[in-house]
């Protein structure tokens, strides 16, 4: 029911995007064709899901408790904070600051969580930067690893 309603809303939004697309001069087909087709498809499928009956073997998802919602918020907010600061802070300093609070949230002592987060980050950097030569931002630590 909720999935169907969401599909109908998104479908209507895409049809709106399609209607706002500017036609291209001298071309019979414009950039709004596919958004319109996908939007109509979402409207149709959404309507079908809204009228469909819930199957007897279809279990309802469990309701999350407050602890779970806090954990979820942490798991979303920390990576987004990393995205906002990555170019300045770098992976070597930024990633442990994402991983350590998550490990601690799951019950690991804070000191051990920080150590493990630093070790995980070091291993990832060595594998990607050192072995596979994938360039990663290192922030203030640029030039410190032996492969840079």
């Amino acid at each position: 029911m909720i999935a169907g309603a969401a599909a109908v809303l998104v479908g209507a939004g895409l049809i709106g995007v399609a209607m706002q697309a500017r036609p291209v001069p001298h071309l019979p087909i414009g950039p709004g064709v596919l958004p319109a087709v996908v939007g109509l498809g979402l409207l149709g499928v959404g309507a079908a899901l809204m009228v469909a009956r819930r199957e007897p073997h279809d279990p309802a998802p469990s309701r999350p408790d407050r602890t779970g919602l806090t954990g979820l918020a942490l798991a979303i907010a920390l990576p987004l904070a990393l995205a906002a600061t990555l170019e300045t802070v770098g992976v070597a300093l930024g990633l442990p600051l994402v991983l350590a609070p998550l490990l601690a949230w799951h019950g690991m002592p804070p000191g051990r969580a920080m150590l493990l987060a630093v070790a995980m980050t070091g291993a990832l950097l060595a594998l990607l930067g050192g072995l596979l030569r994938v360039p990663l931002p290192l922030g203030p630590l640029a030039g410190v690893p032996p492969w840079t």
Partner: protein, 501 residues
């Protein structure tokens, strides 16, 4: 190929230098394929600077070995962590992960490995024996046939992947909607980019795939940590029941190999479509085999695993015979050929016949190497599963974030990854399958480009989409994919109204 030419090619191939490069490329392929976010294409691209320093044959043998092994190693995170290594392995990652949670990861990966090897060998043999004929067939596919083939792949994914076709269709449409982000392929107008130049090239397949499959799992664990404690994935025995599982599915594996070779040979199609179409074809032509949950999941893995690797051989057909790359991987192979002084095309087989034959044999050998390489990867993966979810989940998140950044090199990719993770979590809670989203995202731009190009050539007349016999045939098959289950469900509803409810 004559026996003398085969002997000469084998003599070139079976040298310590070539075999050592192939072994090294196989190890690198294992690492690249097993790390979420790093694709076979990226691995091959990383190998290019080294390929320049080598002779043509070891360089090309290394490239084809890395590609084959990396694609198969992508099954490992698919089964153990539910993070598909490649878009094609998304077709069966969920089935393999379900088996892993029932303690049958060994059987899932063993089946995938052998099917990949069989499919890869089939692709290599076709490449060796029938490349010119298949390349001719592929060249007869116009934009209209490619459009219908992509629509057929999406239809197969929608019908096969979901708990019900409407939910599968919703997943496909979500993928197509995500594919709309970026510049319109015809006019170049920005669409749904919200003014962000980083989104001009689209959302990026890898961040979306990582977010949908891996980050969604981390978020689900954060929401309800007891989920993973109930059934952590276990590898279990690899060979127990493997022979029986493969024997029962020999027809499905053969069908998967055939579908993979043919679809792989069509430029722009490739393994992604092949895996889903192979699943749908095998389900339609080999029904009545499923008995339990394990059988159902193995039925999804076998044909798609074979099609996945067979498509590489198929994609190498137009690449080597005509110089037309079917996908980004074969485009790099063409680049390596040219850097080594071999211009792909019919003349390459005349001027460098022995080298080209040896490269094709190297691809055959690489597919035989898959099984030992995969078993080695399984042995190395066992300690990873011993880690408790409380450690594993943050580690997965770290690998995902770094992997997304490594591929796209923008922090926007991290935001896209997290947004896709939230979308994946919501879809799972709504029982909407994830795999068809990937196919929708991959094929969306192709469908739009092919459809609009065809329509513009015809002055906007939609009849052009069914005028050619091949296009009409594919359109009818697509209609049957949707129509047959609907008609069957309707008949069942009339005969047994209560059961069908």
């Amino acid at each position: 190929m004559t026996p003398a030419a085969l002997g000469a090619a084998l003599a070139l191939l079976l040298t310590p230098q070539v075999l050592a490069v192939m072994a090294g490329a196989a190890v690198l392929g294992l690492v690249v394929g097993a790390l979420p976010g790093l694709t076979a294409t990226l691995g091959v691209a990383l190998l290019v600077p080294f390929a320049l320093l080598l002779e043509p044959l070891p360089a090309l043998a290394g490239v084809v070995t890395l590609a084959a092994v990396a694609i198969t190693a992508g099954d490992l995170p698919g089964a153990l962590l539910r993070v598909p290594g490649t878009p094609a392995s998304a077709a069966y990652a969920e089935a393999a992960h379900r088996l892993a949670r029932r303690g049958r990861a060994g059987l899932a990966l063993g089946t995938g490995l052998v099917c990949a090897a069989v499919g890869g060998v089939a692709g290599a043999l076709v490449l060796l024996l029938g490349a010119p004929a298949l390349a001719g067939l592929a060249l007869h596919m116009s934009t209209v046939e490619r459009f219908w083939l992509a629509v057929l792949g999406l239809s197969a994914a929608a019908v096969v992947a979901g708990p019900s076709p409407p939910r599968g269709a919703l997943a496909v449409l979500i993928g197509l909607a995500l594919a709309l982000v970026g510049l319109d392929p015809v006019s170049g107008q920005p669409r749904l980019t919200f003014g962000l130049t980083d989104l001009s090239g689209g959302l990026g397949l890898i961040p979306v795939m990582i977010g949908l499959f891996a980050v969604s799992r981390v978020l689900a664990h954060a929401l309800d940590p007891k989920t993973d404690e109930r059934a952590p994935p276990r590898i279990g025995p690899v060979f127990a029941g493997l022979g029986q599982a493969l024997g029962r599915r020999r027809r499905a594996i053969a069908l998967g190999g055939g579908v993979g070779v043919v679809i792989g040979a069509i430029p722009g199609a490739g393994a992604d479509i092949a895996a889903y179409v192979a699943q749908a074809v095998a389900r339609r032509l080999t029904p009545g085999r499923t008995k339990g949950e394990d059988d159902h999941d193995l039925d999804a893995i076998a044909p798609a695993g074979a099609a996945n690797n067979a498509a590489i051989g198929g994609a190498l057909v137009p690449a080597t015979v005509l110089g037309i790359p079917g996908d980004s991987l074969t485009a790099i192979v063409i680049g390596v050929l040219m850097l080594n002084g071999i211009t792909p095309g019919p003349a390459a087989f005349l001027l460098h016949g022995d080298t080209m034959a040896a490269v094709l044999l190297a691809f055959l050998l690489a597919n035989l190497l898959l099984v030992p390489a995969g078993l080695l990867a399984l042995a190395l993966a066992r300690p990873l599963l011993a880690a408790p979810p409380v450690v594993l989940m943050p580690l997965i998140l770290g690998v995902c974030l770094v992997g997304s950044y490594a591929v796209e090199r923008t922090t926007t990719a991290l935001v896209v990854t997290m947004a896709a993770g939230v979308l994946g979590l919501l879809m799972e809670r709504g029982r909407v399958p994830l795999a068809p989203v990937v196919l929708g995202l991959v094929l969306g731009p192709l469908i739009e480009e092919m459809a609009l190009t065809s329509l513009m050539k015809a002055g906007g007349d939609p009849a052009v989409l069914v005028e050619r016999p091949g296009a009409l045939g594919l359109a009818l098959v697509t209609a049957a994919v949707w129509g047959v289950p609907a008609v069957r469900a309707g008949i069942a509803h009339v005969r047994h109204p209560r059961d069908s409810d």
